[in-house]
């Protein structure tokens, strides 16, 4: 199916979202709460575009708007610029301490008004990616608590979460650096909980928490001798196995790769 984005015809697949189609075609749209590996949050509302559909124009978030034949997408217009600036100002006033938000504001020439700063130390914009990552992983140690203007990300009752395995996925997907994760002396601290770090059996660098490895072993029913590897050593291992993998792929009967 074909749609046009900023006048450019783009081929897309049924079920694809406008943002993904745009990115694939080299058209950038500002965004915060989109992560290719996680479900759409559609919460930041930065990725707004104009869509002309059946003769009606409407503004919507591109990250979560499914493509359909013949729609015309506009990613840049005066109106969009105004709306985006409005949203950015709100984000800045929400999370004045986030360098990432400040950088975006600078890029789009938005200042935000100190008078409306909610908390000068705040970095979180409530995009929801952290909880989505934690949920996808299967730990569900954190979630959004309260509603309305008081909504925040929290462990249950703001206490140390027994479900937290200290993997740090939340901190890694956070677009605003809002989740403090510190490592020192062979320990990792996150969400008010301290985790002992296990050393990589290959290189000896501390790389994962004991709870994280146990969680993985259980989730994927790994053998008891599973020790894991740090990211670096994992990559080396994969490279070593390349020829083997290549042969395996070559041997795969064609046509059955679905």
């Amino acid at each position: 199916m074909f749609i046009t984005i900023d006048g450019k015809p783009c081929e897309c697949a049924e079920g694809e979202f406008v943002l993904a189609a745009a990115l694939r075609n080299g058209i950038d749209i500002p965004r915060l709460c989109h992560h290719a590996a996680l479900p759409n949050q559609a919460s930041c509302r930065l990725c707004l575009v104009e869509i002309m559909e059946n003769g009606v124009k409407h503004v919507t978030a591109s990250c979560s708007y499914p493509v359909s034949e013949g729609i015309e997408v506009v990613t840049r217009s005066q109106e969009l610029q105004k709306l985006r600036s409005g949203v950015l100002a709100l984000l800045k006033e929400r999370a004045p301490a986030s360098p990432e938000i400040s950088a975006l504001c600078e890029k789009f020439g938005v200042a935000g008004d100190k008078r409306f700063f909610r908390d000068t130390n705040e970095r979180c914009v409530m995009c929801g990616l952290c909880t989505a990552a934690c949920k996808l992983l299967g730990a569900s140690a954190i979630s959004a608590a309260f509603r309305g203007v008081d909504k925040k990300i929290s462990t249950p009752f703001g206490e140390m979460s027994p479900a937290c395995i200290g993997c740090g996925a939340c901190a890694r997907v956070c677009p605003c650096g809002a989740i403090p994760l510190t490592e020192s002396g062979g320990a990792r601290e996150i969400w008010g909980k301290s985790f002992e770090l296990v050393r990589c059996p290959a290189c000896g660098k501390p790389f994962a928490t004991r709870e994280e490895l146990a969680f993985l072993a259980k989730k994927f029913a790994l053998p008891p001798e599973f020790k894991g590897l740090c990211r670096e050593c994992q990559r080396k291992e994969t490279v070593k196995k390349m020829p083997e993998l290549r042969n395996a792929i070559a041997a795969y009967p064609s046509g059955s790769a679905k």
Binding site: N40, A42, S43, C44, R45, L46, L48, V59, A61, S64, Y65, P66, K82, L83, G86, V87, L90, L91, E93, R94, R115, F116, R118, V125, M126, G128, A144, F146, R147, G148, V149, D150, K151
Partner: protein, 597 residues
């Protein structure tokens, strides 16, 4: 002697005023003397009669005599005079503010302009007695629908022009057609009775007073779209509605109207009551779906729309209680008959909860196209006290305020939207000159700040910012540029929010700015709140010439701020005054007025 019956309103409002006790007293009285007199049936506990303000309401048939604010002590007298005899007890009749009494509801100006379709059985039947509903024709339209091809039912709905009564006024027939066209072996029908708007109780009154008509509407919809399971989502605070809906479902199952092969047809259909936690946002259809599925009550992105992918990913038809209550009536009498009432683009009637500073408040059903002025002055009896009308709020937190100059617009979906208001689900709040339109806007902004799900930036942060600005204006720290700034924030919220809550949240602010901008400017430039509501910008004063020294204000002042000797003009000690306005409300001589500080 002709058989007489007594209808005692036992809807939540009248029950709170003692309707339940009254009904028991009547039942006991009639039982004890029942054999001697030819009384049938005995006392009937019904749904809402509308004038809840003067409850408990008792009606004696066939004379159609309505008594108000009846106490258990009055039962003997009503029995002797009106039931055993043919005498009217004037003391218990409704008396308008000018002393005129009305024997029957039909003569009462509160009821004269009303037309009842959705409320056709409410107040007429005992909602817990299915036989009574059946006797009034409930389930006849369902029997007819079961014989019709589904497309014909959809055609009839479309021809009727019925628009969703849940707020947005989406054409019901069109929605049914979408859902009917969605291909799936499993489909659901959901009845939305979340009703979270402050001051609204239409949907509760319908479900509580006539549950079988709602069930009938849901079953007809199920036949039209091909669903086999229905849900009624009711907020848990609606104890009566939950109980009556559940009882009606059980009775309908026992009679074969729900369950397998309903009414002997080849269709299976059942309904379940789901009790919601009472969040305003859960009235939004996709948040409601999440709530039924046991997830956080946050809206989902649309598309996909529920009609193609809703509950558990299956096509789901969601309509409001009042919409469903209209369905059977339409199918029963035909689309053309329905179109004879109301306006071209909004046929039929609308149920409203009329509240505020008027003489008669309550539950009303009026034909679309009636003017706001008739609602306020004819049905509502005009303004309470002697204060002038200022604005009427329609549509709850998603709606807006409409000023005096627009009172002659004809109420329908389009005209209210044009005035910046909204039909909404049907709350109507009449405000007088003691309402500050800055505080008015802030009330809704604060309500929504707590009721928004908080997921998306424009709604969550926009509301917070609006609240901050409104606080500044009310405290005398506002700037003129804040007014434009608020308009900008509102535009961002309206266009960029994820769901209808955030998109419509600016309406109270925008309409207040559109119709009462001068009042905002006055707050900012002159640091003056003429309504006497913003404590930093106003003060109450006692007018020496008007004060008779009756002392009633002093007795009602919670801060003991009013000084003076009896029969001599009183005075407010400004350093003690907390500006609650109690003195102004109680003064019979309008001697207390708001002024500058």
């Amino acid at each position: 002697m002709p058989a007489k019956s007594v209808y005692i309103c036992c809807d939540t409002g009248c029950t709170a005023a003692g309707g339940g006790l009254l009904a028991s007293a009547f039942a006991a009285k009639l039982k004890n003397s029942g054999a001697a007199c030819d009384l049938a049936p005995a006392a009937k506990r019904t749904g809402c009669h509308g004038l809840c303000e003067f409850g408990p309401v008792v009606r004696v048939e066939p004379e159609n005599i309505s008594y108000y604010q009846v106490r258990p002590e009055d039962v003997d007298e009503i029995y002797e005079k009106t039931i055993a005899g043919d005498e009217v007890i004037e003391r218990l009749l409704y008396k308008d503010p000018f002393g005129k009494q009305f024997k029957t509801a039909a003569e009462n100006p509160f009821y004269i302009p009303q037309v009842k379709i959705a409320l056709r059985n409410v107040g007429e039947i005992d909602p817990l007695d299915m036989e009574e509903a059946v006797a009034r024709g409930v389930y006849q339209a369902l029997a007819k629908a079961l014989e019709m091809p589904p497309e014909d039912i959809v055609d009839e709905m479309e021809a009727s022009g019925l628009r969703g009564r849940g707020g947005a006024g989406f054409p019901t027939g069109k929605k049914w057609r979408y859902c009917a066209a969605s291909k799936s072996d499993i489909k659901y029908v959901v009845c939305n009775c979340d009703e979270g708007d402050p001051g609204a109780f239409m949907d509760r009154s319908i479900l509580e007073g006539d549950p079988h008509s709602v069930l009938e509407g849901i079953a007809i919809a199920a036949k039209a779209v091909g669903a086999r399971q229905g849900f009624i989502y009711v907020r848990d605070e609606y104890e009566g509605a939950v109980r009556h809906a559940a009882a009606a479902i059980a009775a309908a199952q026992a009679r074969g109207v729900l369950g397998r092969n309903i009414l002997g047809s080849d269709m299976d259909f059942d309904i379940k009551v789901i009790r919601g936690g009472g969040a305003f946002v859960c009235g939004e259809e996709t948040a409601l779906i999440n709530s039924i599925e046991g997830r956080t009550g946050e809206p989902r992105v649309k598309p996909p729309y529920p009609a193609s992918s809703g509950l558990w990913g299956k096509p789901t038809l969601i309509n409001n209680v009042e919409t469903f209550a209209n369905v059977a009536a339409i199918l029963h009498s035909g689309a053309q008959k329905f179109r004879e009432i109301g306006t071209r683009n909004s046929p039929g009637t609308k149920v409203f909860c009329l509240v505020g500073k008027i003489r008669r408040t309550g539950l009303i059903e009026v034909p679309m196209g009636i003017t706001l002025r008739r609602i306020v002055y004819d049905i509502g009896g005009g303004m309470m006290n002697s204060r002038p009308f200022k604005a009427i709020q329609t549509g709850g937190p998603s709606g807006g305020c409409i000023p005096e100059a627009l009172l002659d617009i004809e109420v329908d979906f389009d005209s209210l939207a044009e005035a910046g208001g909204m039909m909404g689900s049907g709350g109507m709040i009449v405000m007088d000159s003691c309402t500050c339109m800055v505080e008015f806007a802030q009330y809704y902004v604060k309500f929504l700040s707590g009721e928004s799900c908080g997921k998306c930036t424009p709604c969550r942060e926009g509301l917070r910012k609006l609240d901050a600005i409104l606080t500044d204006i009310r405290e005398g720290k506002g700037r003129l540029s804040d007014i434009d700034l608020m308009e900008d924030i509102c535009q961002t919220m309206r266009k960029a929010s994820l769901c209808g809550l955030g998109k419509s949240a600016p309406n109270p602010v925008l309409t207040a700015l559109r119709h009462f901008r001068a009042e905002y400017v006055e707050h900012v430039e002159e640091k003056y709140c003429r309504a006497g509501v913003c404590p930093s910008l106003s003060a109450f004063h006692i007018n020496f010439d008007a004060c008779t020294g009756c002392s009633v204000c002093a007795r009602n002042c919670p801060a003991a701020a009013i000084e003076g000797v009896k029969k001599k003009p009183h005075q407010i000690n400004q350093s003690k005054c907390v500006q609650c306005g109690a003195c102004r409300d109680v003064c019979q001589f309008n001697a207390v007025t708001a002024g500058r500080r």
